[in-house]
Symmetry: C2
Subunit: 322 residues, 2 copies
Amino acid sequence: MASAGGGIAFLGPEGTFTHQAVLEWTARAGTRAPQGGPRALDSVGAVHDAVASGAAARGIVAIESSVEGYVVPSLDGLLGSQEVVAVDEVVLPISFDAFVRPGHGELTEATAHPHGLAQVSRFVAAHRLRPVPASSNGAACRDVTDHQVAFGPRVCGALYGLETLAQGVEDFGGARTRFLVLARRDEAPVLLAAARDALPPATPWRTMVAVTPAVTGPGVLARVTTAFGARGINMTSLMERPLKARANQYVFAVTFDAAPWDPHARALLEDLLAAGDSLKVLGAYPAPPGECALDGVVPAHVPHGSVAAGADQADLARGLLW
Amino acid sequence: MASAGGGIAFLGPEGTFTHQAVLEWTARAGTRAPQGGPRALDSVGAVHDAVASGAAARGIVAIESSVEGYVVPSLDGLLGSQEVVAVDEVVLPISFDAFVRPGHGELTEATAHPHGLAQVSRFVAAHRLRPVPASSNGAACRDVTDHQVAFGPRVCGALYGLETLAQGVEDFGGARTRFLVLARRDEAPVLLAAARDALPPATPWRTMVAVTPAVTGPGVLARVTTAFGARGINMTSLMERPLKARANQYVFAVTFDAAPWDPHARALLEDLLAAGDSLKVLGAYPAPPGECALDGVVPAHVPHGSVAAGADQADLARGLLW
């Protein structure tokens, strides 16, 4: 086995929301955080490789945005990696500040990662700026020109010596991004045991598992989801990813409310194995406080033009095309 | 009602895979294609607006890549639009050529849309090029500098006067992208009826519907998927999208093998309405020939490190962390 390396690898450059997540997780982990500090790398693949080889003790990657959905390269990295697994989670509020260079000229362009640009579209439209995609929000702030407004986390102002034109310019307040803390699969049992020991016994856990059905066709997804229901386990998320270059065939990345070692979760995983599915646990981590209370009636934000029971026949026909 | 405008709106500039999809769909539609030809617009939102207002007769947008998954802005555009619905589909093989300017200098950078760069990562790494994101593959080819290699569909060579450095440089052969053909919701019934009349009676159809549960919590996804199974309707795809700024609450975009007017599909939609779900049909279109035969045993491409029934205890523990 490679000797344990130091530090926490993340997708650089400095000044990204991922960088901010690294700092937040390090503070929260306290004495359980590895020595060595943040280490900016060039790609999600490089972060995985650093963790797999032991060159970094941990890696932190964005996995899901409440606005943009799953981060596909991160999800595919986890699906494809034999050596890396998630052992913790960080949830960060995503708020963008608008930065400019001191002594800037006329401002004609907006720059950020494409996901960032999508989250500040109203500000960009109101100021008639032309969107210019960057490889990251950190890079946008680092490389901002005299005629550009760059968007990124608050830390970028001090980090890159920029002036703050406006704070909190995102289209939707309340957006959040989930980050996963990656470790070597061989070390995960020890790390997870230490995390359990450090938490109150009633702390809820979440598990993310890849389910690849052996046979596709009608009813496969219903069978998988019904298996969860039969064991009384709540799925908090289901994401399908196409098998590379095979149309209409998928692997399901399912997140559920239990630890993989809970007896009912073990029974569920055994049910799926018995049905012929291939399984891989992609991560297990304590569920963040407060999130479990979000279940309930959904009052708003239903897609425009949806119809519900009781709609008249004309609206039903218009909404459903039947 | 706005008078019917002309042409097919798409996300420009010229030279994107979407542009190629427009040309392919126009040729296939023959006399049913609207007059006016392709019209490159600045954003997916502008394409929706042009169709909704009647300024364009149709719009064509990319909706799903076999490599990168769903195109989130296109999906969110459909979810959010009251006036636009998909009435046809185009599936295009995605193959990238590498283009350079005639008389170029030393080649140090690779440029394409971020999705394009992800699909040619081996070529980029092998040639030690620095990735430079562009707003589209067409823009990358149009704006390629003397020290860049641009990646795009074959048509870009002639369109922008570039030399072809290499053909078919994508990481995975066989990648495909699905495009949806958008029309005004008010016109959809007439267009769909004409399409049905022009096709053999046994032609299979697909429907894409947004399902927003009224109540979230344990078992919701199992209930929805079981409803499809109970009516014998195969879901070919399920995508969840977060409700804006509400953590852990989702709308499901489900694609299934039936037309919305088929009796068993109507019964299914009535089941979901009766359960309190809000529904919106996002599109209905003939299923492409050949795709229906892809169901069956999945022999390969299961994520590395997955375990299956019959694995020994050590492998199960390593794969499942239980």
